[in-house]
Subunit: 264 residues, 2 copies
């Protein structure tokens, strides 16, 4: 895959944003953590949308917002502390109610680190109903659709859970989890999921692929329950449910996650 | 305080670094959270040191590192989401075993947001003993000491705790808490301290000043206990202790914090 070339063929379709792998956002291995990378991908998505008139800030003024439905990151390596790296992002396809946005992560020194995929819906923040993307600004979003760029990782799966998962942790959604939309930040779920595995596990295994399926929102004060099952030698699935303090025993699924590790 | 002018008077002493108030690092109020700001201050400190030959990366190769002993942030406002802001930092003084580094935070649109102060020691990573700063590169650090720039906030206090504090939370130090040094990241303590207050409290009160006193390190798997006491109408103190799973009942103080809120 020759990005420079593709960049020239689709100059306005691919966004390329530079970031620093900040030392204090790296994990104990000295490389960027997957949750920090997730944050950078969301930033890149927002920058790219913003530059084309579909950023969160502008949508907010129109009582609309993007909602992240799926996020996949599959990395062969992570940018080391102090590395400059780039995130390229583009919209692979757009349907009436969903867009597929892809990512490529490239370290200045060591080349391609990995790829990402994501699925987004737009909602009306008053009605909470999905917005028909073809009707927003006369379907201008279609001008940026760019199916010709390869994203050589598997598409998101449904992350089906079995019946064998154990509740292994419960936390209360707190101040630091809640973002400007008033609900738990998508990246915070990743942080919490990664915290289910002991540091010693990460000494032997590196997280190679993570899939997040976002089903519902959760709010400050909600109990978040984490259920985990092992579905392969180095593969785990996690379901997160929320329980409101006032509705004891009623759990709503908010998120599912698939994690694939490999030996370091 | 005229920064431009002072910048010219001490061109090599003051570092000025631009950051974006990233939307996904803002809290529910739509402004940068104090823990994210803390991360930016630590980055600015490291950039400034790096550019003068005393950065963490170079020190690492010499088996030395900086250890943060105190951090104070006092803010009249926080940069709003999407704002460009600058952190200026300079070394106010250097003694044999400590340097005092100050910060000024300035929003491009709305001017000065607040200030910070910090105290750092350098240690030998093999012996864990303090390093005499006057002996590092023939005391070259002294070339950058810049006492003439004002930092109009109170110096760090000792954050003395009374005997009335209640243990209000316990967490286990997890993967996401641990940084490249193998112990809990300084900023993560801030995040955990902020999480002790319910979101509703932040709806009425804004955090105006936070002081962190770092006493000892804690490690993955340690229990972190949080003790809190109210010491003024809008003032709280928090002590964090660590307890190793293998040494039940033995607590070591790792951190103390003073928080001053004001009505929004």
């Amino acid at each position: 895959m020759n990005t420079e070339k593709q960049g020239k063929e689709s100059p306005d379709k691919i966004g390329r944003y530079g970031f620093l792998s900040e030392p204090f956002r790296c994990d104990f291995t000295g490389c960027l953590s997957m949750s920090s990378l997730g944050n950078h991908l969301l930033n890149a998505a927002d920058f790219h949308s913003h530059d084309r008139g579909f950023g969160l800030q502008r949508l907010q003024a129109e009582n609309k917002t993007w909602v992240l439905s799926r996020l996949v990151m599959e990395m062969t390596k992570m940018p080391a502390a102090y590395s400059d790296f780039f995130v390229e992002t583009w919209v692979e396809s757009a349907m009436r109610y969903f867009t597929h946005r892809n990512f490529k992560v490239e370290d200045v020194n060591s080349g391609v680190c990995g790829y990402g995929r994501s699925v987004w819906a737009m909602i009306d923040t008053d009605s909470r109903q999905p917005v028909n993307l073809f009707e927003v600004r006369d379907g201008a979003l279609m001008d940026y659709v760019c199916p010709e760029v390869a994203c050589p990782i598997d598409i998101p799966s449904r992350v089906k859970m079995g019946s064998q998962s154990d509740r292994i942790a419960t936390i209360v959604a707190s101040y630091g989890d809640i973002d400007v939309n008033g609900h738990v930040n998508s990246v915070k779920y990743i942080e919490h999921v990664l915290n289910l595995f002991p540091v010693d596990y990460y000494k032997t295994f590196a997280l190679r692929r993570i899939e997040m399926v976002y089903c519902a929102e959760s709010y400050a004060g909600n109990y978040l329950h984490f259920y985990r099952e092992q579905t392969g030698e180095h593969e785990f699935r996690v379901r997160i449910t929320r329980e409101e303090a006032s509705k004891e025993g009623q759990e709503t699924e908010v998120c599912r996650s698939l994690l694939q590790f490999c030996v370091r």
